[in-house]
Amino acid sequence: MQLINFSVDRIIIHQVFQRGPEGEKIKPLQSHDFTRFDNTAMDAFKSRVRDALGDGSKAVQMEIVDEDKNGMPAIVNEIVGKDDADFVVSSYDVAKKLTDAQKTRGIPGGIVVVFTGTHGAHKHKFLGVIKAEIYSAYEKLIDKKTNEISLKYVEEVLLTPGTKLYKTAGFFERVGSLSDSDGLNSKWSVLISDNQISQTDGKAAAMYFYSDFLGCGYPETSARTTKKFYDAASAFIKQMNVSAEKKIDLYNALTTYLKVNTSSVVSPQEFGSSYFDVDTQDEFIAHLSEKGLPPTSFTKDNAHIASKLKVRKVQFSKNVKIIAPSDVFKDLVSIETIEGDLDESGAPKVWTRILVKDLVVNQE
């Protein structure tokens, strides 16, 4: 799913609240009219949506699980095409749905932006929802007479750049909608950007948003996509023009990123920026796109690569192999390329020096 050529035509904003002291729901505050941004504000709004859901973002594709007629996907399906007057009223259902989903007092309130527009080359419909948490900040003031700078405390600020402080979901009408046999999934493609999902063990904390509120779940294809990523990244490292030592480090990094990192999202952008220089990052992303990986992030499922992640293998041409559990390999084995004897042409052969920080316990 690629967010291209999108424009926004209607925006309405409601407010949801944290649960009361006894855990009771507090009715969301309803707006009765659209928010009308001027051009600059609209561009900034579009930039927020783009940063959250666009190419290279941390957004992940999810699958619609809740097909109930009162579920959020059904609400979206119903209200997206409504005329302005009806949409203003129906959009409040989204705020009510979010209020229901925020079951604990630990979840903060905020504003809910419900917006519609078109996307894609053929201008298909979409409906977006942003939950933006309200926090405090400072506003810069300059005294006109003295040019002195001071800061004014602003209690309620929201939707600043950087996607950490807002959660975004987009329901995008699919190009050439499939038959209805697959339910709403055949009609809508869902992208969700929620910083909580990609945090360590964040899946549970984020669940109220993507599951309870939006009625979505991890796609069944996660395991396949994760394997595709592992294969494509391995192939990329293999063809890189770097030393054998560097490659070993990169393979170790890939294994660690997928296996040890507890985030439930794979962000190719994040992996790239952690381990590659700028140009290699671009080449890496281009390589993944060629191999059919999605342009955004995706949900992780190691089911198909569990055995590969368990062991690291290094193989030499004459059937010499080093095999070790990947976490042990990283700590105890180091490999270095050295210059060996001269070959017929007088150039040194490439040899490998292996150091194992352990003693031999058995041999056959």
Binding site: D43, S47, G54
Partner: protein
């Protein structure tokens, strides 16, 4: 032919010479324009057709010391002339090549400073290129019949050569008193300096034009793609040079083709360009296609080396749906 007959004939034939001069000027201008040059930039002095005045023609035919014409009317070949003044020696070559390759006239290359330099390597004097052009056949231009024996003198020179010619022609040639050897010497020295400077100019331009952007004529290719997609002529600014400069390493022979493919895969961008054309900025320039391409294919490098404020990238990233700050 006495002076009176001479003047009469000249008055009678002036329209023919004017027509021939106009044809030559228009033809050369078209040729240069078609080669992709902007005439306002290419010609440092707007070229025009000049007919000799009666007085100066008579003076040259009958009273010029050292000239002894047997048939002055026909022997004098610069009765009509067109002068082209350009900045660089290579611009001169371009005009010469056009003149010599055209089937519109027969040409007689009567002066070229390169030949003069070979012939008289120790002499520093007036430098220019002169051609005499004559129609191949009788032909009609603007209702006037032009005969094949009608000559038109074409002069081609650099701005510096022109400056020297103006000085020597007006100040020395027409000087009322005898010119001292020291003055001749100083004028020769200035010609030596001009020749040196023209060479430096050539060198500088060559160095400035070295690089893949010029080598593969990327700007022109992008202009063509831009125009064929939007039907609007791009208004390129200096900012496009800054962008090409920063991302020169991605400019290859294949780039125009790659961008064309990219645009056909993302044809919705054409509407974005058209609808934002009036908002100005990058949308008006054909380099916008290169920036879109980089945003999709080389985002990290683009953001790392982007020479302007990031705000300029925002609208383009919105069009393409590329996350800049995820």
């Amino acid at each position: 032919m006495n002076e009176v007959d001479f003047k009469e004939k000249w008055d009678l034939e002036k329209p023919i010479y004017k027509a021939w001069g106009d044809f030559v000027l228009e033809n050369i201008e078209n040729g240069i324009r078609d080669s992709g040059e902007s005439l306002d930039v290419f010609f440092k002095i707007p070229p025009s057709v000049r007919l000799k005045s009666n007085e100066s023609l008579v003076d040259k035919a009958f009273y010029r010391p050292g000239k002894n014409y047997s048939d002055p009317y026909n022997d004098i070949e610069d009765k009509v002339g067109v002068r082209f003044v350009v900045l660089l020696l290579e611009n001169i070559d371009k005009i010469c090549k056009y003149i010599e390759g055209s089937a519109n006239w027969s040409f007689d290359k009567c002066k070229h400073f390169n030949l003069d330099r070979e012939r008289e390597p120790l002499l520093f004097t007036y430098q220019s290129v002169h051609y005499i052009l004559r129609p191949v056949d009788t032909f009609n231009y603007g209702g006037v019949e032009v005969l094949p024996n009608t000559p038109c003198e074409v002069q081609v020179r650099t701005l510096l050569q022109h400056a020297h010619a103006e000085l020597t022609h007006d100040a020395i040639y027409k000087s009322k008193k005898a010119v001292l050897p020291a003055v001749h010497r100083t004028v020769a020295k200035s010609m030596a300096l001009i020749e040196t400077t023209d060479d430096f100019f050539t060198d500088v331009t060559k160095k400035l034009n070295e690089g893949p952007v010029e080598q593969f004529s990327v700007q022109r290719s992008l202009d063509e793609i831009y125009m064929s997609l939007t039907q609007i002529e791009p208004l390129n600014q200096k900012s496009s040079l800054a962008i090409f400069d920063c991302f020169e390493k991605f400019v290859t022979e294949d780039l125009p083709n790659d961008i064309e493919d990219f645009m056909s895969e993302n044809s919705f961008l054409v509407d974005s360009i058209k609808s934002n054309f009036d908002s100005g900025g990058l949308y008006r320039q054909s380099v916008v296609l290169f920036v879109y391409y980089l945003l999709r294919k080389r985002k990290q490098r683009l953001m790392a080396d982007w020479p302007f404020s990031m705000e300029k990238l925002e609208p383009l990233a919105n069009d393409l749906g590329v996350s800049l700050y995820s």
